[in-house]
């Protein structure tokens, strides 16, 4: 489907739905213009995989959900349909910058949704600031979020920093170490990319402080497709815990290689991709015990309902990390609009100070950041469940050692 036909279809949808509504609610609403929402996300290039799993499906799902319910509710109670304008940033920051300029100054959209990824969100941040749009960066992991929130006061950072995830993991492993289920040796590999480096930098001191010893600590380049050498080194290192701060191709590749080698450490942790819905397939139907970044409260009815809607709309369940956060950020936007309307300044203030009811529970931002997040999850009984922070409502106890493949 091309963008043109999708836009056309949405417009038709908007018209029919709002005329149906007019019958029920009276006369004024039928005349309302739709709210235009634009976004530039990677359809092609290196970021397309991540955007295709986490960002685009949730944007489309949310737009459908809102329009099916009659549109966005305005403070005066009227409803306006959403019309979407979408561009491909081709995974290039130059194209992204231009696309946002186009959305803001050419298409003059009412709201802009952020792109996928840490780097893209940073490239977009000055433009959101210049044009005054609030930016709900739901797929951006950065330890510098507090500084960015200061610099651009309408930017909101929803996914924590590398430091959070690293210390969250160390906390979980520390529990196992104290319980005597694992030794104090850890083999860790990290992808040579902003994400991997942030995590490993934070993890090294955290591990040491908790009494662990990093017996194997290597970085591998983005694009590595063969992990046999790395995993055999990790296996012979004697560590009970294997930790990979990896991206999806690496997470998948290492899982498969570990299975074929019969490498069964007590803790097997992978980075991004471990919480993807395809992971159980990648792991040959044996994902149980594998830990990864993220997690959801799998027992919460709101999350279960969200998973069902997502599966029905997209054809597969969402990933269990940033997808729910992305959807929740859109719910925040929706509720903020209902309270203060489309004025960008009022909207930003409401997002910063208000309390919102979302699929991940009640949300209130602290200093423009979402801090109430899951740092570690684990596959248990075929579902990816949050295990850390252990004191957060909905956390389950980690299974260590991991059952053999």
């Amino acid at each position: 489907m091309t963008r043109m036909t999708r836009r056309g279809a949405l417009r038709i949808l908007a018209l029919t739905a709002s005329s149906g509504l007019a019958l029920a609610a009276g006369t004024a609403t039928a005349q309302e213009d739709p709210v235009t929402i634009g976004y530039a996300v990677a359809r092609t290039g290196a970021n397309a995989t991540g955007a295709g799993i986490t960002t685009i499906p949730n944007y489309e799902l949310w737009v459908r959900d809102v329009n099916e319910a009659g549109g966005l509710t305005m403070p005066d109670g009227s409803q306006r349909m959403i019309e979407v304008i979408e561009y491909d940033d081709r995974s290039s920051n130059e194209d992204l910058v231009r696309a946002i300029e186009r959305l803001a100054s050419q298409d003059e959209v009412d709201l802009i949704l952020p792109p996928w990824g840490t780097g893209s969100n940073l490239a977009a941040a000055p433009l959101f600031a210049r044009f005054g749009y609030p930016q709900l960066a739901a797929t951006s992991v950065t330890d510098m979020a507090p500084q960015f929130a200061d610099r651009w006061d309408r930017s909101f950072w929803m996914l924590g920093g590398g430091h959070d995830y690293a210390s969250g993991l160390v906390d979980v492993l520390k529990g196992a170490l104290d319980a005597g289920t694992i030794n104090n040796q850890v083999a860790v590999v990290s992808v040579a990319d902003g994400f991997g480096i942030d995590l490993i930098k934070a993890a090294r001191p955290a591990f040491e402080e908790a009494g662990f010893e990093l017996v194997y600590d290597e970085t591998y380049p983005l694009g590595t497709s063969d992990f046999a050498a790395i995993l055999s080194e990790a296996q012979s290192s004697g560590a009970d815990s294997f930790v990979a701060f990896s991206y999806p191709p690496g997470s998948f590749g290492m899982t498969k290689t570990a299975q074929s080698m019969g490498y069964n450490p007590a803790v097997f942790y992978v980075g991004v991709g471990g919480a993807f819905p395809v992971y159980p397939d990648i792991a040959n139907g044996q994902p149980d015990g594998v830990m990864a970044v993220g997690g959801v409260n799998a027992d919460s009815p709101e999350i279960q309902d969200y998973f069902e809607r997502h599966t029905e709309f997209v054809g597969q369940p969402p990933d269990s990390w940033a997808s729910a956060i992305t959807y929740a950020s859109l719910e925040m936007l929706e509720q903020a609009i209902e309270r203060v309307g489309l004025d960008k300044e009022a909207l930003s203030e409401e997002l910063a100070s208000g309390t919102f009811d979302t699929i991940i529970g009640e949300v209130q931002l602290e200093n423009n950041q979402l801090r109430d997040l899951w740092w570690v999850g684990q596959w248990q009984d075929g579902a990816f469940r949050a295990v850390g922070p252990a004191d957060k409502d909905g956390a389950v106890a980690p299974v260590i050692p991991k059952p053999d493949w």
Partner: protein, 304 residues
């Protein structure tokens, strides 16, 4: 005199345009002028010598990365100077080691050069500095970037025109036709190719440095985007790489076409680019300008 006046007047008009367009219009103009610069700088070396370089982004990305590393340490003009020096030094090393070889080895080497540079920078950052991902918080407006890039484009085309009328230009054309004849006519092959390659690379590096403040966040995997190299080649070839304004004439329409495609047919973008490449090689091996010339010549002959 008019030969100089017309381009100057055009330049003034182009420089004044940002006052009359939207932000997006300005963004488009920055993109177009950037590719004009890249394609022209590429052609400065590859157009005449026919040594096809697939490494544009190795230099372009290096320029951006230098700014990312130094933007908080040095004043901006000095950062640009350092970027130019680093780009030149890199070109010198690459040129000295590969330009003595047959053209095909040069192509293969440049084919992987940006990937190599990306890995080396990544490795260095990971193992030595321990930071990956850098920020560019420079207070340079989109207009400022546009004017700088426009100036660089003008300098590039002007430099090409000047070189064309100097012994170096003649030497480059001879090298492109027949290196053996060139050598036996007294042309120092290595030096001729090296000078042109370094000049071209310095401009490519500067282009990356100038445009980088628009990206804010820079990471090796972001700045070394191979598509930039490929687009540059196809733009220069389409217009005619051995003509002065050929690369510019190829760059502007292609850039706008790709912009339109990415907005409307993001999925088929790469198919279109491939077909265009093949089409140019088969139908217009010397570029559109030469094709127009041929057509005109045929008409003249038919008329006579």
């Amino acid at each position: 005199m008019t030969r100089l006046l017309l381009p100057l007047a055009g330049l003034v008009v182009l420089a004044a345009l940002p006052g009359f367009v939207s932000e997006y219009g300005l963004g488009l103009m920055i993109g177009a002028v950037t590719y004009v610069t890249l394609a022209s700088a590429w052609a400065l070396f590859s157009g005449y010598t026919r040594y096809i370089s697939l490494a544009t982004v190795a230099f372009y990305g290096t320029g951006a990365y230098v700014v990312a590393v130094l933007n908080e340490v040095l004043p901006y003009p000095l950062v640009l100077l350092v970027a130019a020096l680093i780009g030149g030094a890199m070109a010198l090393v690459v040129g000295l080691s590969t330009l003595r070889l047959a053209g095909v080895y040069f192509v293969i080497f440049t084919f992987g050069l940006s990937e190599l540079v990306r890995q080396l920078i990544t490795w260095y950052e990971v193992n030595v500095t321990g930071t990956l991902g850098r920020y560019i918080f420079l207070d340079i407006s989109a207009r400022g970037i546009y004017w700088q890039m426009l100036a660089l484009a003008a300098v590039t085309i002007g430099l090409t025109a000047w070189i064309h009328r100097r012994p170096l230009g003649l030497a480059l054309r001879v090298v492109g036709d027949d290196e053996t004849v060139a050598a036996h006519s007294g042309i120092n092959l290595a030096r001729t190719k090296l000078i042109a390659f370094v000049l071209s690379s310095v401009i490519l590096t500067l282009a990356g440095a100038i445009v980088s403040p628009r990206w804010v966040y820079v990471e090796p995997s972001i700045v070394f985007n191979p598509t930039v190299s490929f687009l540059t080649v196809i733009m220069a070839l389409l217009g005619g790489a051995n003509r002065l304004v050929g690369p510019a004439l190829g760059a502007v329409p292609l850039f706008l076409t790709f912009e339109w495609l990415s907005a409307n047919f993001p999925d088929t973008y790469s198919i279109f680019m491939g077909l265009l490449f093949i089409g140019v090689v088969f139908a217009l091996p010397e570029g559109v300008l030469a094709g127009v010339d041929r057509l005109r010549a045929r008409k003249l002959r038919a008329a006579a």
